[in-house]
């Protein structure tokens, strides 16, 4: 319970941060050339100045900037993200339609990066400065330097065009009309390449951190004690070292959540996945500022939520956190 209260306090502390973000972005978008009505008029193929004025009044764009900001924040409190003129639907609906693909992609990438980063990091640390370590560390450096969108394109060339093992893009085969388990398999096969592409750079980061922490923890006294009491090396690693080495890895999830959302913009564009990132890109191209602002809000909330979960996981891994205060 105490852990929950602690994490809850951290969650409450992030509210001012969210407010700063929203006000800052709202004011920033005031500087943008053209507003929703301009975009709408362009789509309708032009119109008279009177129609434009009517539309501005309808969307509340004729008010002063502070009044608009007040309106905007009040609407957000009621979870109303406004109306997307481009999609002709409320922004919240548009975002909710796109959210599942992104969440699925992020969860898959994170699991891939976390698991393989952990395994490779442990392998490298156990053979430090010998050839497996050199190989794994070099791979990590190369992965870190690889632009994700380029890796994605090359993966499409190899696995979709030449080998024809996996689909080149999209979320599922809509025409096939699959249901149930077959549909799940279909979606999974569409997500393999995007998951690898998005997860690659995080794999590199995780394996580097895991290797460094393992090396550090292995020199601590309690490891010597565990060895002295006759445990074999595998038991020492899995029961004693790993749990302690996991702490920085878990912290990293929280720190990287935002970067991962940003990365999904590019990856979803490469694989034409109907996710939040691609929506952000489309919103920029189509000057749909309402939608863009909504996406940024939802992303910030997501990042804060992930950090809340990380706090909880952290307290579970490290009993000192809940007990201390």
């Amino acid at each position: 319970m105490r852990v929950l209260a602690l994490a809850g306090r951290r969650l409450a502390a992030s509210l001012p941060t969210l407010l700063i973000i929203l006000i800052g972005l709202f004011l920033l978008l005031q500087l943008a050339p053209g507003d929703t009505v301009d975009a709408l008029m362009a789509q309708m193929g032009g119109g008279s100045a009177e129609i434009a004025a009517d539309l501005r009044a309808f969307y509340g764009l004729d008010l002063s900037v502070p009044a608009q900001l007040g309106n905007y924040l009040w609407r957000l409190v009621r979870l109303d993200l406004g109306f997307s003129a481009i999609y002709g639907k409320p922004v919240a609906t548009v975002i909710l339609e796109r959210l599942p693909a992104t969440l699925l992609l992020m969860t898959a990438s994170l699991s891939f990066a976390f698991f393989f980063g952990l395994v490779l990091g442990v392998l490298a640390a156990r053979r430090v400065n010998r050839w497996p370590d050199t190989l794994i560390s070099t791979l990590g450096l190369v992965f870190y330097a690889t632009p994700s969108f380029w890796f994605g394109l090359m993966a499409i060339v190899l696995f979709a065009v030449h080998l024809q093992w996996l689909p080149a893009g999209g979320f599922e085969e809509v025409e096939a009309g699959l249901t149930g388990f077959a549909r799940m398999l279909d979606i999974a096969s569409h997500l393999v390449l995007p998951t690898l592409t998005l997860g690659l750079i995080f794999l590199a980061i995780y394996l580097r951190i895991m290797r460094a922490t393992m090396l550090e923890v292995l020199t601590l006294d309690f490891v010597r004690t565990a060895r002295a009491k006759g445990l074999d090396e595998t038991r020492v690693i899995t029961r004693h070292v790993l749990r302690n080495a996991l702490l920085p890895m878990v912290t990293l999830i929280g720190l990287q959540a935002g970067t991962m959302l940003g990365g999904s913009v590019v990856v979803e564009s490469v694989f034409s996945l109907p996710g939040l990132g691609r929506l952000a890109y489309e919103a920029v191209v189509q000057r749909d500022l309402n939608t863009l602002l909504g996406i940024v809000f939802v992303s910030a909330v997501l990042v804060i939520l992930v950090n809340f979960l990380v706090d909880l996981a952290y307290a579970r891994l490290d009993p000192r956190i809940g007990a201390g205060r």
Partner: protein, 276 residues
């Protein structure tokens, strides 16, 4: 001197240095090796590398020389990387130094703002900035700098927090020095080495951010950027994949070089951490 010798001992650092020097040489020799505008029509489009001895790396879908774009692109990548990193480090140092030195409400306010920037996915913020201010090369560079400062700011703040209560700072205060002089002339030089090492990470990320933006065709289309070329090659990916493949290798090599050099500097400046 000892630091230089320590640096030259690491094989990874040496590889990084050689790679980086090669990229710099490409950037410097671009005007001499390919004096024509790299974005002008050079020959028949989509010639494979090696098919025509005039175009070592072939031509892209608009008939432009890929090798020329790679050489001139090295300039753009290094320039954007350096300038954006400079901006990010500068903002980071000022924010971090003020927060760490003063503490109290100054620290609270500045750290809240830093947190706000860190909570926002930086690529999304970059998209917003480009949507608002346009995408010519100057704007893009400044925007990349503006989204990259929080990490250097936190690093600077941590250094200042540990340095501000040292004896030499107390001595400066006793001598009656002003806050600004103590921050920038006395403490900053002591806090600088880890920040300079971290600059390599910022630069690597800055180069990757620009290439991603250019790939999405949201960066300046009028410069020979590697990301632009990859985005262009995407249209002919199924058959002429080399158009996208070649500039990607260039980005990979440059980012790898920058990170290896940064790591080498880190090992040379902090010998205790060697082997991590």
């Amino acid at each position: 001197m000892r630091a230089i010798r320590a640096y030259l001992r690491g094989p990874a650092a040496m590889i990084g240095l050689v790679l980086l020097l090669a990229v710099i040489a490409m950037a410097l020799s671009a005007d001499w090796a390919y004096p024509r505008d790299p974005l002008s029509l050079a020959g028949r489009p989509l010639q494979w590398p090696g098919a025509n001895p005039r175009f070592l790396l072939g031509t892209d879908n608009s008939g432009r020389d890929i090798a020329a774009q790679i050489f001139h692109g090295a300039r753009i990548s290094l320039l954007i990387g350096l300038v954006a990193t400079g901006i990010a480090i500068l903002i980071g140092i000022v924010v971090g130094a003020l927060a760490g030195y003063h503490g109290g409400w100054v620290d609270d306010v500045l750290m809240r703002v830093t947190e706000a920037f860190q909570t926002l996915p930086n690529f999304l913020l970059l998209l917003v900035l480009v949507a608002v201010f346009g995408s010519d090369i100057t704007t893009v560079t400044v925007a990349i700098g503006v989204v990259s400062w929080p990490a250097p700011a936190r690093l600077t703040r941590a250094e200042f927090l540990s340095l501000r209560s040292r004896e030499f700072v107390e001595a400066c205060r006793t001598l009656g020095m002003g806050d600004m002089r103590i921050i920038f002339r006395e403490i900053l030089p002591n806090a600088l080495p880890p920040i300079i090492v971290y600059a390599s990470v910022v630069m690597a990320v800055a180069i990757l951010l620009e290439s991603a933006l250019a790939f999405l065709r949201l960066s300046d289309p009028n410069v020979a950027s590697w990301g632009n070329l990859i985005g262009l090659g995407r249209d002919v990916l199924r058959t002429q994949w080399y158009v996208s493949a070649i500039p990607g290798v260039a980005i990979l090599a440059t980012v790898l070089a920058v990170s290896l050099v940064g790591q080498g500097l880190n090992d040379a400046l902090n010998p205790r951490l060697r082997g991590r």
